[in-house]
């Protein structure tokens, strides 16, 4: 995998893209300002380079507004995580009610059986209630599992966005610094 252009990591020197650009920076700068003993760069070429560098700096400054978008996503994710927490609480309440329902339906079935022939109809009703409460229990367990699954995927996404935001802003800052250096060199 090493040497594969799509492979990430194991750089010959630390810190990838920006540093790679930085490593190539001196060569690029040489192309701009060092004419290798030839005639100096024409004033109009220099002015054009400065204008392009200025445009680049403005674009990088605009990119920094990404921080606002990251903050918005961050707030939305916090809200989503909070909703998940509330849903988990509701799910636990439902599970507790279902547990009590199962006990009640079991007691009802026992009482109906004790009452004998006169409560035959009630036996059927108690059995139906028990069957329904057992189905509710299965659904409640499935809901709990889904909430755990949702918690994990939401948290993983939340943390990825959080860390991703940090690394993108760091990359933009690096770019900003490089543009500043380039501009100073041209001037």
């Amino acid at each position: 995998m090493r040497g594969d252009p799509t492979t990430y990591g194991n750089e010959a020197a630390p810190r990838g893209a920006l540093q790679r650009t930085r490593r190539s920076g001196p060569t690029a700068r040489a192309d701009l300002t060092d004419t290798g003993g030839g005639p100096p760069i024409a004033a109009d070429v220099r002015a054009d380079l400065l204008r392009q560098t200025q445009e680049l700096a403005q674009e990088v400054a605009r990119l920094k507004a990404l921080a606002v978008a990251f903050e918005r996503w961050h707030q939305d994710m916090i809200s989503l995580m909070s909703q998940n927490r509330d849903m988990r609480g509701l799910g636990e309440d439902v599970a507790s009610i279902v547990k009590q329902l199962i006990m009640l339906s079991l007691n009802a079935a026992i009482e109906a059986a004790r009452a004998g022939e006169s409560a035959r109809g009630f036996v059927v009703v108690a059995a139906e209630v028990r069957s329904l409460s057992l189905r509710a229990q299965t659904l409640s367990k499935d809901l709990g599992k889904n909430l755990h699954r949702s918690d994990l995927t939401t948290t993983a996404t939340f943390q990825d966005i959080q860390a991703g935001g940090k690394l993108m802003l760091a990359a933009i800052s690096g770019l900003e610094s490089m543009v500043r250096q380039l501009r100073a060199r041209i001037e």
Partner: protein, 179 residues
């Protein structure tokens, strides 16, 4: 996306960060043994702390499953007012910080999230994240504090990582690796 060597190197880097960060005193003994998967989960009071290290092409979730047994509480919780969750966050953060630094020596553009607490029952759904690499270990400190740690790495491009420290000899399954 990940060679066996890279998986092994990342796991070893994680083990180094565990040894360096999960102990309270330098002479405490931290033993790490491979585990077939995360602990059973769902024990009363047990917490699951998650911290993610992200790059543009992968995310690496580190999951710390910490039991609320008296030995673990006594080791990590320093004051009566502090919860196990609060206390362990600091250790998880330091551990991932150490791993992040080691990975950043070779892998550009890395950043780390803040720790977040989940139910340990969430561990059953790690497959939902479609990981390229999953690895679990049982950690024992001073023969009394026991926790489970899991690495879950999801890649969207090939990643290569070479260990920067000399590799530590892995023990055979079931034996503890003493440091």
């Amino acid at each position: 996306m990940l060679s066996e060597q890279t998986k092994q190197n990342i796991e070893q880097a994680f083990h180094r960060s565990l040894r360096a960060s999960l102990v309270r005193a330098p002479d405490d003994v931290c033993a790490i043994a491979p585990a077939s998967g995360p602990g059973p989960g769902g024990q009363p009071g047990e917490i699951l702390l998650v911290v993610t290290i992200s790059s543009f092409v992968f995310r690496l979730l580190t999951l710390f499953q910490v039991g609320a047994d008296p030995a673990t509480r006594a080791y990590y919780v320093s004051g009566a007012q502090q919860s196990l969750d609060e206390a362990f966050r600091e250790f998880a953060n330091m551990c991932c910080g150490a791993l992040n630094r080691e990975l950043a020596e070779q892998i550009p553009h890395l950043a780390m999230s803040i720790p977040y607490t989940l139910s340990s029952q969430c561990l059953a759904y790690l497959g939902e994240l479609r990981p390229s690499f999953l690895s679990s270990s049982a950690v024992t400190i001073n023969d009394s504090v026991r926790l489970h740690v899991t690495l879950c790495m999801c890649c969207s491009a090939a990643v290569d990582f070479v260990a920067s420290a000399p590799p530590v000899a892995e023990t055979t399954a079931g034996e503890l690796e003493m440091f």
